[in-house]
Symmetry: C2
């Protein structure tokens, strides 16, 4: 088993496909039902209002400190649903695998996905595997799509419709850890012990937040493009601006060091377990309290606020007292970060 590799036949829809499904996918994801494999999974939702999302993962390397491509694929889609104010329920996963990929690595990835899904309380209910000839893809790509149930009263969270000047901007911990970990891994840099990807499912933290306040204005996980991109997108065509306080944005020493070496701005670096949250000023403390009780929010803090001044602009109050404009990322900073 240990030397076994993926063959083109594992993607054929024939006998080898069936064996792969039985020996790896059903083993870890669980059989959806006792019937023979069907084309679609039949599900019953608690509500007719849903959130639906998709993401493909092509991260390089596929294994990194703090996770692997499978963990990323589950967390990323869970988070996209949760920040929309939805309760993530069901995921699909589509694998594109390069011929010759080791079975043992595939099993490790699938096992991680199953573990992470269990932790997040979602079920992986539909799947697909394609195998391409050696050299026609890079090891493994994974697509996850997801369905969540949403209370229609929470729809404004996804759009940020209720954002007002004075609202506070909160983050749940140190930024830029995923991106820097991936860059470091690619360059074989020995990390400080504490540096690893922050890859995590945020839905249970978000549940705590939603229970603490009825005045959540907006949530977004700050992935590709980092927290700068989230905030720049948010102020586009809006009649408010954002003022961030550089002093207050949590970044670890090791991340700052590596960003200096590589010439990267941590504000633009991808996170995979960081939530940018906007909440009414009067509820900020309540929300911070709730967040700090959750293992993924112990370092939660206010990093800025929504302003009536400078509409459509994100400004950063720098440590030396000046202000600089934060603009949207141009070009590709870090390819294949997720």
């Amino acid at each position: 088993m240990n030397n076994k590799t993926i063959l083109l036949g594992h993607g054929s829809g024939g006998k080898l496909s069936h064996e792969l499904i039985q020996s790896i996918f059903f083993k870890h994801f669980g059989e959806n039902d006792k019937h023979f494999p069907t084309d679609a999974s039949l599900l019953h939702l608690p509500d007719t209002h849903i959130a639906f999302t998709t993401d493909s993962y092509v991260v390089d390397p596929i294994f990194f400190p703090g996770g692997n491509i499978g963990k990323l694929a589950v967390c990323g889609t869970v988070n996209d649903l949760a920040v929309s104010g939805a309760t993530p329920l069901y995921l699909s996963c589509g694998f594109i695998i390069e011929e010759g990929f080791p079975f043992a690595q595939l099993e490790e990835i699938v096992e991680t996905m199953a573990d992470e899904a269990r932790k997040a309380g979602v079920r992986i209910v539909a799947g697909d595997t394609k195998v391409v000839d050696k050299g026609k893809c890079d090891k493994i790509f994974i697509n996850t799509s997801g369905i969540g149930a949403i209370n229609p009263q929470h729809k404004h969270i996804s759009y940020g419709d209720n954002i007002q000047p004075g609202d506070k901007i909160i983050i749940n911990g140190n930024i830029a850890e995923h991106g820097v970990t991936i860059i470091g891994s690619r360059n074989n840099i020995k990390f400080a012990d504490d540096l690893k990807s922050d890859c995590a499912s945020l839905n249970l933290l978000i549940k705590d937040i939603m229970e603490a306040s009825n005045s959540i204005r907006f949530m977004r996980d700050a992935t590709r493009g980092g927290i700068a991109t989230v905030l720049c997108e948010l102020v586009e065509n809006r009649n408010y601006g954002i003022l961030m306080d550089e002093d207050k944005i949590p970044v670890s020493e090791s991340v700052l060091g590596l960003c200096e070496v590589f010439g990267f701005d941590p504000l633009y670096i991808a996170n995979e377990g960081k939530l940018v949250l906007i909440v009414a000023q009067e509820d900020a403390d309540k929300v911070l309290d709730a967040m700090r009780k959750n293992i993924l929010g112990t370092m939660a803090c206010i990093i800025g606020e929504v302003t009536a001044e400078n509409p459509q602009r994100v400004l950063l109050k720098t440590q030396i007292g000046g202000k600089r404009i934060i603009d949207m990322l141009t070009g590709e900073q870090l390819p294949r970060i997720c």
Copy 2:
């Protein structure tokens, strides 16, 4: 525009990503709403019972007679939902694109997807684009996931729970056209004029079928592995068998010719617009009548029946009068057929 190619930056989540989304995806798929891009699409379903499915498409070549990878991706997922007895409603699409891929080809693919979605009456509501370095994938891969609404009374269709000896097996037209077209394209074979992929959305044909009879026992689109694989999967661990009549299985002359040249058995060759349907004997004529009125079912015919004899076996009554066992495909017959 015509010489423009995809850059790594188009997958960065920054400015170039936004431009790509505006200039190609929103242009053809339509903007989901007037809000800024969100992580998940918020939808309202007509019912809480749904079918959910996912498929990745890696077909090579990406353009072929009768379609392209985008048409395949929409039709394939629409069909997976429809054969489950569901009404397809919403699709997501995830693109993985090789750096340097021509913009014009991407737009052609996206336009085809939008056209096909319109024809099938489904909406493409969620998307994602990743770009990988040149040589790290083969041109373009597309994942489509889909959600359909299902009447819970139709759940047995997906599982084939009500199949009984005497039920008739129907197909809606000539088999093996997609697979043979792809093989031919790869080998630069000049086709007869009539040979092209049968790639089509079957949901409207299936609607006609469901309206014609309450005794539909099972439906499946015969993709990878062909009609043989569908029927072999179906009889696994069942107390009935299947007897097909070789004489009655519709195959065109050109497909038969190419299968002979390449040594392929058309029963195992992929279709992308062929439906294997099992219906109660007494409703077979009604269903055939309804199918023949639909452009995708004009050649609909009975190709075999469910038998009490030979449980767990698919038998083929051959043209010379013998019977042979049809077994599940071993190994990879045709890689990257879809």
